[in-house]
């Protein structure tokens, strides 16, 4: 690999670090968009089969070209800006919805050393980036100058702020037991422990000792990405499509891409923080990116499964679950984990 890169590097000279970073970014974003496209197909197929339907099967073999057809259709549509809309912010909204979802991938490790920025405060960076995702939705909701869109924006603000706190506390537990904010270190610390010594690595991953936090993180992740059963932000039976109601064509597609990129991001984070990232579950199989991909796919499947299974939560129930159930539970568990680490029963010596 190095012998191949060397001559290209000398060609660009001083600009090489910039070019190399750009190449790495393209190397992540292009497959990510492909994954997003096929996640939409997977969603329609999975939910179709769960509801005893076939799902899309007309475009290409088995309907495999359906996402491409959808994308082309959205590209060719006109973007209509409503007459009373705040034009600048109306355009900025979808951009802000997608931007953070892509920026977060810069610190996500795909395998040992496969990461764009191996920063020390990676987990904090992720928390910060995911917390600014809500701006896209709020700005879009306000700038559209429509009551449905505005209601969607307000709901999104309240919901995301509420679930972020529970998510943050769940992450505090993770970083307490791995004593690092670096995502690669967090994965590495899950490879040690009694389970790993027996050859059953999956027993020493974080999901087992932190099982309640794993569940809280997963559910908060679904709420953060505004997916069913927490999709009151879009809630088509109540407020049509929420913040997206005035958007058409590519502007709408950006929201769509942002939502699915976020789903993949949350799945990747859950896999890295609780399911051992790229580590193999048993010692006789090698570690590698394949495991991370499998774990991400499993969590994404859960997302789709939940959507097909649960009816939408009522708004006050969502708020109650966030503030009155998850936050006290996670606060309590932070104390429990702190005592556990200091006690002789600690698993993380």
């Amino acid at each position: 690999m190095d012998a191949f890169i060397e001559p290209v590097a000398t060609l660009f000279g001083g600009a090489w670090p910039l070019v190399w970073s750009l190449l790495k970014i393209i190397g992540i974003i292009a497959p990510l968009f492909l994954c997003v496209a096929y996640l939409t197909l997977a969603e329609r197929k999975v939910i179709g089969y769960m509801q005893v339907r076939i799902g899309p099967n007309r475009v290409g073999p088995l309907g495999l070209l359906q996402p491409i057809a959808d994308g082309v259709k959205l590209l060719l549509k006109e973007i209509i800006v409503p007459s009373g809309a705040n034009k600048g912010l109306f355009i900025v909204g979808p951009v802000l919805a997608l931007g953070p979802a892509l920026a977060a991938w810069s610190v996500v490790p795909f395998s040992d050393g496969w990461v764009i920025g191996n920063v020390d405060a990676g987990l904090l960076f992720l928390l910060a980036v995911t917390s600014i995702e809500v701006y896209g939705v709020i700005i879009a909701g306000w700038a559209s100058n429509s009551k449905y869109a505005f209601l969607g924006g307000v709901r999104a603000a309240a919901q995301m702020v509420s679930y972020e706190i529970a998510m943050g506390f769940a992450l505090v537990c993770v970083l307490m037991i791995s004593s690092s904010l670096n995502l690669s270190d967090i994965v590495a610390s899950q490879g040690k422990g009694q389970g790993a010594e027996l050859g059953l690595g999956f027993l020493s991953w974080n999901w087992l000792p932190l099982f309640p936090m794993f569940i809280v993180y997963l559910i908060s992740g679904i709420a953060e990405t505004n997916r069913a059963p927490f999709d009151v932000v879009e809630g088509e039976s109540e407020i049509v499509a929420g913040h997206m109601v005035e958007y058409s064509g590519m502007a709408f597609a950006l929201f769509f891409l942002g939502e699915y990129a976020n789903m993949i991001l949350i799945s990747a984070l859950t896999s890295i923080l609780f399911l051992g990232g790229w580590l193999s579950p048993v010692s006789f199989l090698p570690d590698g990116f394949v495991w991370l991909a499998l774990k991400i796919s499993f969590i994404l499947f859960l997302f789709l499964w939940f959507r097909a299974t649960f009816p939408r939560f009522r708004y006050d129930h969502i708020m109650r679950l966030g503030w009155k159930v998850f936050i006290p539970l996670t606060l309590f568990w932070v104390v429990v984990v702190a005592v556990w680490i200091m006690s002789p029963l600690s698993l993380w010596k």
């Binding site: 020390d120 904090l124 306000w142 702020v161």
Partner: protein
């Protein structure tokens, strides 16, 4: 000019312009969004000082939570600019006085001997394996543990006070407690009556 200076001047320019727009923007939502931009640039400048924890915490707390709630409120306000402008000239002398006072104070603070280039040297180059977060945590929980705990208690009291001030229980509302709702049994709601069929 090296790369760091370019980045510094870029962030500073953006921050100063955004802060100016916060007070000159006519639309309160635009003003709030410019404030977000100002916070973001401040985070960038702190990052240049190797204070990565503080920089990210600034973005997380102020941009991610505080300003979202600000926007939340500001978006719902129906502000009539004409009415706000009505008393502009009568308030101007007082406002100008306060403004001048603040400028004088800032000059005294920033121009004094505590803020010169010699009082604030460039942060030392960090060695390999230095973690800003770890260092900050160590300082907070050893050297500054009493001020830190005191500050958190003050915040807690403020939080409890805010909740206590706004908490009001109305008697005659028909709100249903979700906890009761979840725990409901079939027998509480349905009564099965055995009844013979009636002929017309």
């Amino acid at each position: 000019m090296d790369f760091q200076s370019i980045v510094f001047y870029f962030f500073s320019t953006v921050m100063v312009l955004a802060s100016l727009r916060v007070i000159t923007a006519r639309n309160p939502v635009h003003a709030a969004l410019f404030l977000v931009l100002a916070f973001f640039s401040a985070g960038g400048i702190w990052m240049l000082l190797h204070a990565e924890f503080l920089a990210i915490a600034l973005v997380m707390v102020y941009v991610g939570a505080v300003m979202v709630l600000f926007l939340f409120v500001v978006m719902m306000l129906d502000i009539n600019l004409e009415r706000i402008r009505q008393g502009f000239w009568s308030y101007l002398p007082v406002g100008a006085l306060i403004g001048v006072l603040m400028v004088v104070e800032m000059v005294m603070v920033l121009g004094g001997r505590y803020f010169g280039l010699d009082a604030m040297p460039k942060p030392a180059e960090v060695e390999q394996g230095y973690s800003n977060t770890k260092e900050l945590g160590r300082l907070l929980y050893t050297e500054y543990v009493y001020p830190f705990e005191l500050a958190s208690i003050v915040l807690l009291v403020a939080m409890v006070a805010a909740v206590a001030l706004t908490l009001r229980k109305r008697k005659n509302v028909k709100i249903i407690d979700p906890a009761e709702q979840v725990a409901v049994k079939r027998d509480d709601r349905v009564r099965i009556v055995s009844m013979r069929a009636e002929k017309e």
